[in-house]
Structures are given as structure tokens and as C-alpha cells.
């Protein structure tokens, strides 16, 4: 075996999955540090929450640039730099004594680390490694890896805090995140997609900007971010407000995490056989019905668990379908760049979902309005996916100027 051919599509998929598992999973446990860190360092909740909101924003804003660098100079370099930044951010989090230091470590460094080691860059490489008939399944599998990380890292983080204390737990997580660096070698190599294509990055961006489907995808992904972050942040409090016990609520969160793994993979597989835009439309439609039923029907542990299973199934199922659709329409040469721009929409939605949920609750004393906004946006996203022209642009007849 020579030096290059060990990077088979299977190896790229496996290593990409573990990278996503680490980058998305470690971040999932941050909420657990709120109480011990705030208590010991005398911070208010706002200090902690601001740094994490900043992290989301930095992640979203840096993602398109990380995607561009990955498409131009190779994904592995970006992932290595991201792994180092992620590790530094986590290690410095452990020694942050002021809000500013925490903003820089947990907010800026970890946010930059996420932008280079999460969806946009990793999925771009995986998308290019597989032929078009297997691409959607591969994207679903790598997304399921990220979902698996999100599911297992929460109890892992809690175990570390309980056993070693929050400071050492952060250092162990920092060491774990460093695994991203050697794994990146499997994703190295120049972007060799579409060797016959002479399209420049600027032309690709112009082409995407002129395509209505690109903006519909970005807008529908914004809705996805809005819903998931709103549910992530506010569901535990909502369930406690409604009289559920922590045991019943935690079962719901575990179900979301578990069905997210199944859903990510299944959506990828289905995307390989059925129209991706119709699947996306179905996902947003199902979310609308699930949320509406959850808030209007009498609440019980079972209704909550069914809601959690349905929402979990559709949680990250949008990612392989949206990424697959970008690859299908615009090709894979600049997949990281184009998907990263769509993902920026997701992060803006996340910011709005987290913030607006709290704002409306403070204003009205109830989550009902925001649940209804989530239903309305879901219907809108379901409708927006329908007119997307799924045909590959390279195969469409070129419009030539009249002679």
C-alpha cells in the first residue's frame, strides 16, 4: 500500500465521523460547567451565557472563510488548525478567571475551532470522496457520527466533572479534542474534484447567489437552527414549568439524542433514493405538526417522549439533505464554501432561537408565542423547499447570447 491510497472513502468516512463526534460532542457538555464554574468563580449566568452565544456567532461567521480555505488549500490544514484552537480554547477555559478571558477561550477560540472541524469542512471532504449515488448515504453516516458524539458526550462530561472536578474535566476534554489533529491526516490532499472544471471560487459564488434554490436552502436552514437551539435551551425549563420531573425530562432529552443518530443516517440514506427537497419539506412539515401537537394536546410523560422521538429523528436529518442538495446542484468543487454560507443562515437562526425564546418568555411569561412562531416558520420552510430546482447546474443547457 503506498502513502496515498490508504485514504479510501471508508477511511475518510470513519475519520470524518470521529472528528465530528469530538467537535460537536465536546461542545454539547458545556452547559454542565455553568453551575460549578459560576459558583466557584462568582460569575452570574449572563457571563457564561454571553461567552457561549459569542461562540455560536463566531462559529457561524468564521465557517464560510474556513470552507473557502479548505476548498482552496486543503481541508486537513484547516482541521489541524481548528483542532489546535479547540484544544487551546478548552485548556484556557479551565484557567479563565475573568469574563473577558472566558469570552476569548470559550467564545472565540472554541468558536474558531468549531468552524474548522465541524459540518462545513468535514462534510465537504466526505462529499467529494463518494460518487453521487452513495454521497447522500455517506453524508448521513458522517452526520450520524456527529449525532452520536452529541448523545454520548453529555454523560461523559458529567462523569468527568463528578470524578475529577470541573477544571480537570476541561483539561481532559482539551486532550480529547487534540485527537482531531492526527485524524485530519485522513482528510488531507488537494481538492481534486471536477478536474475538468475551470470555474473559479468567485464564479461559483456568483452562480450560487443567482440561484433561487440557494437562498431557499439558506432560509430553510435558518428555520432549522431557530427551532433546534430554541428547543435545546428552553425545553428543560419548559418541562419543569409544566410540572414534569427531572427524570421524565431527562428521558426526553436522551430520546432526542438517540433518535437524532438514527434520523441523521436514515435521512442520508433516503436522500440517495428520493428527492432531497421533498424530504426536507417533509421534515419541516413533520416538525410543525409535532410542535403543534405537543403544545396543544394535554402534556404527559408519554406525549413528551413521543415528541422527543419525532423531533430527535428530524433534528440533524436536515444536514445531509441540505449538504447533499448543495452538492447535487452546484457540484462538489466548492462544496465546503457553499455549504458553509448556507450554514451561516443556520447559526443566525440558532442565535435568534436562543435569544428570542428568552426575550418572549420574559415579555409574556409564557413560551406559547414562541412555540407558535416555531410552527409558523416550519410551515414556511416546508413550502420554501418545494420550488427548489434540484437539477445539476453543469448539465443544464448553457444560455448563449444571441448572435
Amino acid at each position: 500500500m503506498n502513502r496515498t491510497n490508504w485514504r479510501t472513502p471508508g477511511v475518510v468516512l470513519a475519520c470524518g465521523s470521529v472528528i465530528l463526534m469530538l467537535s460537536l460532542g465536546i461542545r454539547q457538555s458545556f452547559g454542565l460547567f455553568l453551575q460549578p464554574m459560576s459558583g466557584e468563580l462568582g460569575w452570574g449566568r449572563e457571563t457564561f451565557a454571553f461567552a457561549l452565544a459569542l461562540q455560536n456567532l463566531i462559529w457561524g461567521m468564521a465557517q464560510p472563510f474556513a470552507g473557502m480555505i479548505a476548498d482552496k488549500f486543503g481541508a486537513a490544514r484547516v482541521i489541524v488548525a481548528a483542532g489546535v484552537l479547540y484544544m487551546l480554547g478548552l485548556a484556557l477555559m479551565a484557567y479563565s478567571e475573568t469574563g473577558l478571558a472566558f469570552d476569548i477561550s470559550a467564545g472565540i477560540l472554541v468558536g474558531l475551532g468549531l468552524s474548522g472541524s465541524a459540518f462545513g469542512v468535514v462534510m465537504g471532504v466526505v462529499g467529494r470522496a463518494f460518487p453521487s449515488d452513495k454521497r447522500s448515504m455517506a453524508l448521513g453516516a458522517v452526520g450520524a457520527g456527529g449525532s452520536f458524539g452529541q448523545f454520548i458526550m453529555l454523560p461523559y462530561g458529567q462523569l468527568l466533572i463528578s470524578q475529577f472536578g470541573w477544571l480537570n474535566a476541561l483539561l481532559v476534554l482539551a486532550a480529547s479534542s487534540f485527537l482531531i489533529v492526527p485524524l485530519a491526516s485522513a482528510l488531507s490532499g488537494r481538492n481534486t474534484a471536477a478536474p475538468s472544471s475551470n470555474q473559479s471560487m468567485g464564479e461559483a459564488l456568483q452562480e450560487a447567489a443567482a440561484h433561487r434554490g440557494f437562498w431557499y436552502l439558506t432560509a430553510s436552514f435558518l428555520v432549522c437552527g431557530f427551532q433546534t437551539l430554541f428547543i435545546m435551551v428552553h425545553l428543560p425549563v419548559y418541562l419543569l414549568d409544566q410540572g414534569m420531573t427531572p427524570m421524565e425530562g431527562m428521558t426526553a432529552l436522551a430520546l432526542i439524542g438517540f433518535f437524532n443518530i438514527v434520523g441523521s443516517y436514515m435521512c442520508g440514506v433516503l436522500g440517495g433514493h428520493l428527492s432531497k427537497k421533498y424530504l426536507l419539506s417533509w421534515i419541516y412539515g413533520i416538525r410543525a405538526v409535532a410542535i403543534l401537537a405537543f403544545v396543544t394536546l394535554p402534556l404527559s410523560p408519554w406525549s413528551t417522549w413521543v415528541f422527543a422521538a419525532v423531533i430527535g429523528f428530524t433534528w440533524l436529518g436536515t444536514v445531509p439533505l441540505t449538504n447533499g442538495l448543495v452538492a447535487q446542484i452546484f457540484g462538489v468543487k466548492y462544496l465546503s464554501t457553499l455549504f458553509s454560507i448556507v450554514f451561516l443562515g443556520h447559526q443566525i437562526g440558532s442565535f435568534l432561537g436562543g435569544w428570542y425564546g428568552g426575550y418572549v418568555f420574559d415579555l409574556t411569561g409564557s413560551y406559547l408565542t414562541i412555540w407558535m412562531v416555531a410552527v409558523g416558520l416550519s410551515v414556511l420552510a416546508a413550502v420554501m423547499c418545494l420550488p427548489i430546482d434540484e437539477r445539476e447546474l453543469a448539465t443544464l443547457p448553457v444560455k448563449r447570447p444571441a448572435v
Binding site: G31, Q35, L154, M232, V233
Partner: protein
């Protein structure tokens, strides 16, 4: 890799994933995580 060995590898991976999933699910209902329920999802 032969077909039977491939099946064996996949079966072992599936068993490992099932085991990790089972213990993770149980860990979700541990006293520490229940105490931290309000902060258990990332904000």
C-alpha cells in the same frame, strides 16, 4: 476482507455501539445529570 469477516466486524461494531448507547442512556438518568437537568442542554 472475506464476506464472513466483514459481517463479523460489522456485528462487533453494532454490538459496541449498542452497548455504548445503553450505558449512555442509563447515565442520562444518573443522580448527577438529573440534578443538572436545567443546564444539561447546551446554551
Amino acid at each position: 476482507m472475506t464476506q464472513s469477516r466483514r459481517i463479523l466486524v460489522w456485528a462487533m461494531l453494532a454490538a459496541l455501539a449498542a452497548l455504548v448507547t445503553y450505558f449512555s442512556f442509563r447515565a442520562y438518568l444518573s443522580a448527577e445529570l438529573l440534578f443538572n437537568f436545567g443546564n444539561s442542554f447546551y446554551c
